[in-house]
Symmetry: C4
Subunit: 228 residues, 4 copies
């Protein structure tokens, strides 16, 4: 009972965002930097180094796609924690689960780099890669949804921005699902699709906001009986 009345104690009850962000940033930074370890030109390349270097192109594609995806996840994570006042115990655990998938990504990336351009294994590698990305993105989405429902979002946050963030995280999941299926037939399309999703996430969504609001107001004022 004394406990319930003491206001300074409440502050400690919520989990501080500081170490959560520091630890997450560390995992993101390491996962993104470990990707380069999987790029290697065969030691016996000898006289044909330039050709060997060029033949490694699947590694570069994999590096760029995974770097962009982890970068996009980091931006998304940033956008989420920016709207939070504080964290709580469940959010910290969900975040840990999300990081489990983020730090796993270098492995499917390696598979992808090793088996692309080889007939049958290519499909398997691209599918495993796609499923890993889908799971990671789903957890990022879950993090945001949980934060929203658990009331962790700052009370003064702009409702439209909050809604827009939700809207932006959703289509990625559907797109990943479509691309995973596509990849079973035309793996190369899936690869460029994954890159496109990462770029879509990376494009600053706040830039889109004023345009969006203007468009909505225009619609509302000019054609009132229209259904969206």
């Amino acid at each position: 009972m004394t406990n319930a009345e003491s206001p300074p104690r409440r502050k400690r009850r919520g989990f501080s965002k500081g170490r959560l962000e520091a630890f997450s940033d560390g995992v993101f930074a390491i996962a993104i930097t470990l990707l380069v370890l999987d790029i290697a030109v065969p030691a016996g390349a000898g006289q044909h180094l330039l050709r060997s270097f060029i033949d490694e192109w699947p590694s570069y594609v994999a590096y760029v796609v995974s770097f962009s995806t982890i970068g996009a996840m980091w931006l998304g994570h940033n956008a989420i924690t920016e709207y939070l006042d504080r964290s709580n115990a469940t959010f910290v655990r969900l975040n840990l689960l999300f990081l489990l998938f983020v730090s796993f990504l270098p492995f499917p990336t390696r598979l992808f780099a090793d088996f692309i351009q080889r007939d049958s294994p290519e499909r398997v590698a691209v599918t495993i890669y796609g499923i890993s990305l889908l799971l990671t993105a789903t957890l990022l989405m879950t993090l945001w949804r949980y934060a929203h429902r658990a009331g962790l979002v700052r009370p003064d946050a702009d409702d439209e921005e909050v809604q827009l963030l939700t809207q932006r995280l959703t289509p990625g999941l559907a797109a990943y699902l479509v691309l995973i299926v596509t990849g079973l037939f035309v793996p190369v399309v899936a690869v460029f699709g994954y890159l496109a999703i990462a770029i879509f996430y990376i494009i600053p969504f706040r830039e889109v906001r004023p345009a969006l609001r203007f468009w909505r107001q225009a619609r509302r004022s000019s054609r009132p009986p229209e259904t969206s």
Copy 2:
């Protein structure tokens, strides 16, 4: 003498928590992310990539168990430093010793992934793994006990929470001991036991607190002569 009278100097005497946390978070984040480097599908997997991928399941189990354990250790470390006002020289050294074991964990994890499902070496690998976890958990416990005895805990900390943290750190050690012995006979039980302990540590203990307090009050008021 002038020294003894100057209050701002005392502040520097205690070790600042900032760099301790930053360095610890770095070690946790790197150790947890390095785990993925030990997952690899044989380069010659060729046409049977899917099967090779599935055959790597001990690596995934090892990844999940070690990720969960290091994550649980990070949460425990977080819970401890959260209750501290400041650090001192001995605590920093104990913390360094704790990190020595944390950053060692990727090695027994690799052993574990490589030798599981092979008759005799399996027991050795699981035992080495269990002992590494036990030592790491013991040091985390020691860190907390030391902090408590050395008076580093904030004076305004809730006694019940402090006691609960101690209570939660203790059973893990006993469980590790039991599982190490069990692992000598039935290695696979030990493996899932280690995962269970990590999950037990990860479950937010503050959520348990109100229930616990309610249960205690109920017991105290209704059946006074009962011994716990």
Copy 3:
């Protein structure tokens, strides 16, 4: 409309510098520390360890050149963010692109260490290395130019210092271009040139500033009709 009037919201509109710096520092620190993983003496060195150790000199040269370059990039990045009041969405994305090149550097470094002192591949390796450095330096320059044009620089920043930073970032690019071409003919010159550029970036430019200002004032006051 209510939105436009609320001043505390504006603060959240700009991207906080904290996590940008933390994430960037993480990537810099990891990329710079991963360089050592590529230094190895052949396991079969046996009795001739000292000789094997000395024969690894290209690895040490590559380590020092890349460490200095990444260190110089970190210093440059530091100098840039120091002048910024805040960040914005585009700057964060450009920064991510810059880090994509920074974290890629361990790969050309490894090529460089493996193929130097071997006739034809040496040129290829040194050229790939040079192009990687050029691209990274170009992006650092672009980051700064963008920040300057987008009005992210603190209003109270010293104009002369801002100009000097621009002046210092530019010649490096030209020098990289010249050295890439030189490296096609005399690879070893390019190598020491890359080291020289890194050292040039590393030398504290603020020390140069008072001398520069004095020299300018002297020139202006004594010989007015002179053209620079």
Copy 4:
């Protein structure tokens, strides 16, 4: 001239300690965690895993010695930056040079683990290891000496503590020199000597201070004509 009068500008002139510490902590944390990557039991260990595990003891010794040394360097670095009010351009560069040696340490550690217990290469490996430690410790010392001479130490720092820090950093260098020479004849002595130095650095020196001051005062008051 306007420049000289504006007080807020001066603050930016000194290099902020924040990113210097964050970047250094990152490098320390990564270098210390990468050490574990060099511990490996041969893949073909099979039935004799326990024996193979025990046969890897030089790796564990190397791990403990290098972990302790990097940990000690981190503590020393911490002690130094704690006394600084601010940093300057030269200090940042010296710090970068110091980190170049810190992040190099995993390589001599690997050499040491691979070649100990083999007749002639053992001496070479231990000597290379010792020289690396000596150079790293020398740079740490240089960092502190520079900070002291350049007036970066807080004006309110306790002179006795400052002097004590200098006194503690010096004997390590002499000890490293003696051990490098000893290692040429009895490598194993050098190894335990390096561990002893690390532990000497790690023992909290502030605990020693009150004893030291008491001892000095006692000496001064009782036997005045004595020379130290």
